[in-house]
Symmetry: C2
Subunit: 257 residues, 2 copies
């Protein structure tokens, strides 16, 4: 994408917006203006502005110039699958520690999510993750049998398991399916995060799988509220009854009170 013409145009526009050349509410140049200015076709320009729209930076309506909605960097939601990548991009110091690593037969939930047999062996990993030294996340992951060997030998303080198995074993998550809700802290959660049992946690469960559709892991992440929230932008088509524009989602840092 960064090697593409439209990615280049998008990046330039993005920088202009973030630097304030086009403040919130300002109108972007027209498509034909941009096309002429960049020596590109209108289609290529539309790919570029479509990218920014999907990030929630700009909005559009037929007949009117595009408008700047936000002056704020947004990291791709794809990084949601990598806490480490996200945290580093946000400028936070992230550290992790694997507390337990056990191989057991898959439970009903994991077997169903991972699409493996009930009696197949699965690697369970419990991790505590910190942001700027503060514990904020308890992570419980089940890795399918074919991924387990790549995870088994990683050091306990491995910052990003996803990055490591991508590099070492060529296992790359291409798709993800996430479920976000709230749960009460269990006793283990409470002890690790330093809160009372029953206190609210933001839960993000997700399944990742390869480009070929093979499940990699099923994870249950529990965040201390106030440390992160999920931010979502959406934009409707002009007609109130026919909405379809793609939203943009990112984990969002919460400033301490």
């Amino acid at each position: 994408m960064s090697g593409s013409r439209y990615g280049e145009i998008a990046e330039a526009l993005r920088r202009s917006i973030l630097e304030g050349e086009y403040p919130v509410g300002a109108l972007l140049p027209s498509e034909s203006d941009l096309a002429a200015r960049w020596g590109a076709s209108r289609g290529t320009v539309r790919q570029a502005v479509g990218l920014l729209a999907s990030e929630g930076l700009i909005g559009s309506r037929q007949g009117a110039r595009r408008v700047v909605l936000r002056q704020e960097r947004r990291h791709s939601f794809a990084q949601l699958t990598s806490f480490a990548q996200w945290a580093q991009a946000m400028g936070c110091e992230v550290s992790s520690r694997i507390l337990t690593r056990t191989t057991r037969r898959a439970g009903a939930e994991e077997a169903s999510r991972l699409g493996v047999a009930r009696d197949s062996e699965v690697l369970y990993v419990l991790r505590l993750r910190r942001l700027d030294g503060e514990p904020v996340l308890v992570e419980r992951t089940a890795y399918t049998d074919w991924v387990a060997p790549a995870v088994r030998d990683l050091p306990d303080d491995c910052v990003s398991i996803m990055d490591s198995i991508a590099e070492n074993a060529g296992i790359v998550a291409h798709y993800g399916e996430h479920l976000i809700d709230a749960v009460a802290a269990g006793s283990e959660d409470a002890r690790l995060l330093g809160v009372r049992r029953g206190s609210p946690l933001l839960r993000q469960r997700y399944l990742t799988y390869t480009a070929a559709g093979r499940p990699i892991e099923w994870t249950d992440d529990r965040y201390l509220p106030g440390s992160v929230a999920f931010a979502v932008s959406n934009s409707a088509a002009a007609s109130p009854l026919e909405r379809h524009a793609g939203p943009s989602v990112t984990p969002h840092p919460v400033r301490a009170p």
Copy 2:
């Protein structure tokens, strides 16, 4: 969109997927196949499959056929701004009751979010909303002064305020900005939802604004966990380091335990 060629093609493909003609893991016809079959250009076909990709139904990689990822209806995240629309689409019976309606000077939070002066008058509405008769959501909304008159005279059991003010006053939400996290139930929340004080709630705060960028409302929604979750699909580009594909987000019903 439904009046467009690509919307038509997308809808047909969507139906085929949901009806199982292309089960999960199946390969879609190639772009040129589809173009020939529909008598459309390749560009139009790409718009159609792009729509399905943004809904998380299909995935793609350069060089390989598109693959079906999910066989499951997904409603547009745009409906996240309308609880009523979403619930009805899910086949749930939804009812709402406005408990209080007060006009006060804006607090610091609301003034900042709505972009109005600290001393401007804002309409605060407290609503309890039910799904199939069960209370699941406490909603606290602040409407800007210019929207307030359209809301003031709505009946207490109005099912969808958004739909009503769109119809009556032509006020349509075009953009939305959402923040999702978890909070402990306050005493009012606890009383209304029938849970203990301090128990976990899923919170969704959002600002909606018009096509012209004028803020309409700032809302704090608190869901009973187990009633809804947010579902997110994401898809990465082929390169693990250059991800940009748009995610698809929807509220997601949770079946009772």
